[in-house]
Symmetry: C2
Subunit: 355 residues, 2 copies
């Protein structure tokens, strides 16, 4: 018995929220019946359903999630894990859009989005513990780098997962007993091919590529696309950037110093392309007259506001986010048996003024 003289501050969390019991009493039925009604009302006679619904409304009953999870072993939540160094998430609208798509689709499935941002080893352990705790039904994992340990952890805890972007080890390459790894990615290689072919069709002869960091499969795939069309381009025609505007500018400087005769550049993302345009302008080179530029992503905030507006390869980021959720839900609903297939979404070349 608490000492009344202490007069403990009332805690709002302990507000008496009505329970199933209360609703049952009010409706004059058993807890089980109320439970059935709350969960869809299948197999309950209509008059009773109405009685219960009425009681629920009058009491403002809302099921206790923790109690439900405890018995069903389902928590109605999905973790989104983004493992990305600070500089990118700070400046890249990519994640906002992807998350928007995920959020929408998750809402449609009545599931919650738990956001896990990973920045280093410490965070990594924390996420590991979280997954081990089985707090989420599934995982959507992003921005994996080729040296990432996350897939290992995820597969160790057998948490149903869908990756955003092709992970380094695909199912086909996995060792024995390794389940396939479902992912959603855009057709990076095909999109890159289309971009470079466009440059070729424009009559450009010395087409360079400013690539993304080689520890990301999207960057590698775009390089492959470039090489598909230009198998004979020398290695000096490809410079590696870091997907930031500043990195793009640095890469452009290096490229122009190295190959002054370049008349076109396929840049692996729009952010870098904006840096490239800046350098080109500083050097007095006209775009697209002297040098044509094509980006990748079609990040509206960047591509539409550069000078000149950027011709670029569009990928449907939001759609990819939604697709990831659908694949995961498919997996969850199928019991643990079925692994959904990966999906590669098409890209589209958007013509503006830079090429």
């Amino acid at each position: 018995m608490p000492d009344p003289t202490l007069d403990p501050a009332p805690d709002p969390r302990h507000d008496v929220r009505p329970t199933l019991e209360a609703v049952a009493a009010r409706a004059g039925v058993s807890r089980a019946t109320v439970s059935r009604v709350v969960n869809g009302g299948a197999g309950v006679r209509q008059p009773l359903v109405d009685q219960v619904r009425k009681a629920v409304d009058e009491l403002g009953y809302v099921p206790n999630h923790a109690a439900r999870t405890l018995v069903t072993r389902r928590n109605g939540a999905v973790a989104v894990i983004i493992d990305e160094p600070e500089f990118r998430i700070f400046s890249d609208p990519f994640f906002s859009r992807q998350i928007r798509g995920i959020s929408r689709e998750l809402n449609a499935h009545d599931a919650q989005l738990v956001l896990l941002l990973v920045e280093g080893r410490g965070d990594f352990d924390r996420v590991t513990r979280y997954l081990a705790g089985g707090h989420v039904d599934g995982v959507l994992a992003f921005s994996l780098h080729t040296d990432d340990e996350l897939p290992a952890v995820i597969s160790r805890f057998r948490v149903p997962t869908v990756y955003g972007g092709r992970p380094e080890r695909t199912g086909a390459e996995g060792g024995a007993g390794t389940p396939p790894v479902p992912y959603v990615d855009c057709d990076n290689r095909g999109g890159a091919r289309e971009a470079v072919r466009h440059l070729v069709a424009l009559g450009r002869r010395r087409i360079a590529h400013i690539a993304g960091p080689r520890d990301q499969t999207s960057a590698l795939d775009r390089i492959d696309g470039y090489r598909d069309v230009l198998p004979d381009a020398g290695p000096e025609m490809t410079v590696e950037g870091d997907f930031t505007a500043e990195g793009g500018a640095r890469a452009a400087e290096e490229l122009l110093d190295r190959c002054p005769g370049v008349d076109a550049v396929f840049v692996a993302n729009d952010l870098m392309a904006s840096g490239v345009l800046r350098v080109l302008r500083e050097r007095g080179l006209r775009v697209p007259e002297d040098v044509a530029v094509v980006g990748f992503d079609d990040m509206a905030s960047v591509a539409e506001s550069t000078d000149p507006p950027l011709t670029t390869v569009r990928q449907d980021v939001e759609g990819m986010g939604r697709l990831m959720v659908r694949l995961l839900m498919e997996r969850l609903d199928s019991g643990a048996g079925q692994w959904p297939a990966s999906v590669v979404t098409p890209t589209e070349l958007i013509l503006r003024d830079s090429a």
Copy 2:
């Protein structure tokens, strides 16, 4: 190099997660003792503590969150509610940064981040139900507009909340019985003053303002700051934009048509300022020679890559996110009694080339 701490390959039977009971059996103690150890180990003799810890490690025990929540009524999760029409979150790095700060601080407090994106009435009901369900210990709410209903819902369910950005109705204005509304915001008005004073010091005489949407307090506060310095500026010198680059461009067109003699513009955010710069360039006006431009936010991806780089008012977005979490945690730890005070963080004028 693999980290050995990740290695303690736990019980091979992954599907059966060990419970307190199992740990107790293994350590030769009661469930209660294990519980005490797991929760800090206060009041348990050292040898027993060690035994239990050992058993926990060997079994790879991780507490079941749902069970714990059920009895403690604490879920160790905080909801971040962002109520923003799609166009902004799609193009504004602001949210990414704010969320990064929140995520970091939440991690430090061992709490989870549940992201709730609100886009319309339907979503609104869903969020309401979620909060009513008491699934989170607290709420961090963003991007409130003056006509927003969220504060009403939040206050109805008494969920501890901290707002990002000053809500329309502050505690001081609230009616009787309405608790004060703690928020974290930057000094919008002071920052705007500093920006405009800088323009004045530059010798500019016809200083215009391109404002944000009037249903957001940050936009209103920046207008106030502009007027503080220039109380005699005519109403034609202020044009309302929508915080997007495109909207900034439109506003600039309107402004230049209306007041051709303008020699400086204080723009309410960097995104709009980038649109303004584009229009200025298109009209053959040099920046800063003919027209000086100052933005607001110091969004690196925008301000550093415009031509010329943008002089702007910096606000510490990540720091504000962290601060919000700290205020909320303070509130949570203090029982229900204390309401933390709001915090207004300082801004800083960053000089680049546009003014």
